[in-house]
Symmetry: C2
Subunit: 596 residues, 2 copies
Amino acid sequence: MFIPSILSQGSPEQQAKWLPLCNSLKVIGTYAQTELGHGTFVRGLETLAVYDKDTRQFIVHSPNLTSTKWWPGGLGKTATHVILMARLILPDSNSSSSHGSRQKDYGPHGFVVQIRDMGTHLPLPGITVGDIGPKMGYNGVDNGYLRFNHVRIPKDAMLSRFSSITDEGAYIPPPKDNAKASYATMVYVRATIVRDAGEYLGRAVTIATRYTAVRRQTAPGPNERELQVLDYDGVQQTLLPLIAKTYALKFMGNAMMDMYDNFNKDRDAGNFNALPELHALSSGLKSLCTDIAAGGIEASRRTCGGHGYSMLSGLPTLFNSYVQNVTWEGDNNVMFLQTARYLLKAFLAVNQSAAGRKPIQGSASYLEEAITENRSLLPQQQKNMTSNSKCTVTSPEGWRRPQVQLDALKAVAIELAFQAAETLKRHHPHGSHLVFEGAPWNNSTVDLIKLAKAHCVYAMHQAMVARVAAMQHTTTTTLSPSCLAVMHRVTALHGIVCCNEAAADLLESGHVSPQQVAALRIEQRAVVREIRPDAVALVDAFGYEDYLLHSALGRKAGDVYNSLFSMAQGSPLNETEEGPAWQPVLKQLLSTRSRL
Amino acid sequence: MFIPSILSQGSPEQQAKWLPLCNSLKVIGTYAQTELGHGTFVRGLETLAVYDKDTRQFIVHSPNLTSTKWWPGGLGKTATHVILMARLILPDSNSSSSHGSRQKDYGPHGFVVQIRDMGTHLPLPGITVGDIGPKMGYNGVDNGYLRFNHVRIPKDAMLSRFSSITDEGAYIPPPKDNAKASYATMVYVRATIVRDAGEYLGRAVTIATRYTAVRRQTAPGPNERELQVLDYDGVQQTLLPLIAKTYALKFMGNAMMDMYDNFNKDRDAGNFNALPELHALSSGLKSLCTDIAAGGIEASRRTCGGHGYSMLSGLPTLFNSYVQNVTWEGDNNVMFLQTARYLLKAFLAVNQSAAGRKPIQGSASYLEEAITENRSLLPQQQKNMTSNSKCTVTSPEGWRRPQVQLDALKAVAIELAFQAAETLKRHHPHGSHLVFEGAPWNNSTVDLIKLAKAHCVYAMHQAMVARVAAMQHTTTTTLSPSCLAVMHRVTALHGIVCCNEAAADLLESGHVSPQQVAALRIEQRAVVREIRPDAVALVDAFGYEDYLLHSALGRKAGDVYNSLFSMAQGSPLNETEEGPAWQPVLKQLLSTRSRL
């Protein structure tokens, strides 16, 4: 449960009281934020905590159905306590008393609330709590709902490390860097999500690569042995790019952890400069990486054909459990839009040569180059398709060079920044300048999300190229030259695949010619075929043991069919030879019918 | 179960014996084809049926683990009989008796085999049968496995309408049109799969459209009401194209049923001319349509945010049950390759101006136009990016015209035919001509599948345009002019979306300019916004009742939150207030810990 991490928002006294109780399991806590009516939009939460200064208590209440807490893990039948996010409502000191007791809404704040009796585990008076029912995955967790009917809790239940109230109900706002500090926590959580994306996609590609190397189907000619499924072009060009993406995700996860550590050092020195860029990058990477992993797990499953549909393959469970990540911790589209907002503001500043502006730092600094582009933002009809940069590739092999790939991915991001800015302008009532909210913004999100995605793809490939290059220069590396050569090929494949996926934007930007895109396809196939002999080793290197994968298809020793057969014996339907339907249903059905 | 339809392969006497037993449920049958080791490649099946002419019996045997029958529905604990696909092994009349009893393998044939005792439902001697365990969906069906240990069955168990054997074990081959007739059955099955694709995607978009019209999240400005989720650009541009695709799938399903009926009339007159093209088109459409539906169901689910992850939304079950269609009845990639083989052969005939060839008929006849293209197939470096046809669009609105869209989709298919032919040539050892099998073929499948897909997209949009145009001219139509106008907009959106998805190929072919692609994006957004007011009506028109959708989010009356709350009460965890873990686990855990 999440109480210990969230309790960091409590005062020292609150932490001293609750942390030992949580850590010793004297209480079981969970974090109750999401409601039936509001998820990603936290400011819309409706649960109330109204301060009653006469009793120095809060009255916690669920004013309507949509304010019902919904989804918290372990809430339904397990947790005894919650950290509740509820709107803090205080007496309005500005209202005159003659107008009755006016109140002021300070938005969501955290409160520790006991919800079940410690002796009977029954809900306390005024509390309604239960399980929300089955989910696509994670059915081992009792995700719950929770409602309050005017439940009184003491004043010191409010987590008050940052903001607090006086006994009289006056609000004491948080210090200036509080919001920044909570952003930093989000950056950390997103870094773990990116790292985990590589873990989960890694499991899926391990299973699929091992199985398609064992599985044979269709002889290519008379008297020839049937082909390994992994040796069909389509399967190979699905799985090997996913192996490359898994490595990229793992490198990106490590790079993000480093960024977070560096930021933490800066923060301790009172320097928050890197935070806006880190927040923007981590939001988009959360989305990009979970999209890649969720899509890649399902794509891996499909390469396993019919047996990939069996739960014994491990793949359906992997997909159904993992896919929540595209929604959890901020819906992916909403997260991409955080990145887009940062990028477009930076892009516009560059484009309009705003006086006195600081040059863009960090991952978006390439947008500085956009200013040199001789391209007007509007009108669309005059759009002059010219990335100033031109791809120099003259043969398929040219696409292997990291710089060629990175230049192309950068050109895509710049092209999409132009497109998004144009779309945003077109949706503005006056069409003359950009606003980053309201209808113009909400009517442009497809282009904005595309921009954010391209930016993150570029950042991810940069991270991979840098990390693999560093391997070469590290004196402590344990990688042999032949292993390093494989890592370079995998990196090359990742770059080529990313460019290929962006072919439409590359062509539209004018950075590449149709001939160069044709060469890109040829080279993708060539690199895939070069990596093919190392495919099984590349997934073995992830180090997933059979017990972890729990997959009949993903056995390290390749004993797929025996594993499937023996795992199937565990089906409850196999407990008797005649099966559970014989006595109650089939026996009578078949005998009745035979008397007809 | 499938016995009645498959029994059509039996002789009149066999049908007279078994059909009444099946239809009256005196026996329960299923169709046992797929094995642990072989699925789509039917010719690789390994189960044996060896004829013993002395006893006039077949000895049915599973010679190894991979020959175990695996997957047939209802086989595990329900079926009493199967129609078994096994290799027919007969004495080789050409071998001299001095060399012992030589045998000849005639490949898979069908046999009726009883597997369970009618009085006890226990497996008969020599039979091992059971359930294969849980699947991603369809867990109400006991998909089973089946093994034989030298089981003897009578000679007349072999289905012998088409091929049969003499008492001495001489093979009597099927008449010439037998294979063609079985193709026709496949065309029918695929037509139903295409029709069903529209049904299942229709359910998902109904749920998602209704929910996102009810769900509100985030106020666009101070004191404004939160926006309907369906009014965000990204959600709108996900769901409305899926609504258009659902209509396209339904039109395509109807058109395929008509094609099948027309072919049936021809067949009765002994005319099989349309079969190759019908087989090729139906294979690819099976793949295209199930890909669209499976991807579209999951995309719809994600627009529903967190609540889309709840089983109460109905969407996880829809996805997990439906997604088997991309593998079932021929893996989608393998099916696309059937289409590609037909297209490339036709394309090459056109390109090489083969003497005396007949012009291509039917859906691929547009390839005749490719011959007028001044484009050499090789070498790639000299590729001259010129679709002879050029898109004439000069404004975004121009993209609404069906002919503009169809010309573009045709240009994509021709471009991809060139690309696939070039790739296939490059993989041939001599590079000079094309072969449609072996390593060159297996090493080119990505390009081949892309071609097949583009061909089917073109065919599908043609079908939609034709059906909607016909509505206008039919005197019996019940559609009002305003409804017709909506159908024209939905058709326009479908064409625009298909073109947008093919943007990279359109640009590479030279059929469109970057400016025209930018106009395409503008027009897609414009048409989506025009259709938005009719979105809910367009899904209501599918006519799915609440009991069928079984979704808290998809309620026709929009009462989403009450439905979620009340459906959740049915969770088994909610049977007691304290929950099932309190007595056995939590009570002791919490009390032990509190003594620490």
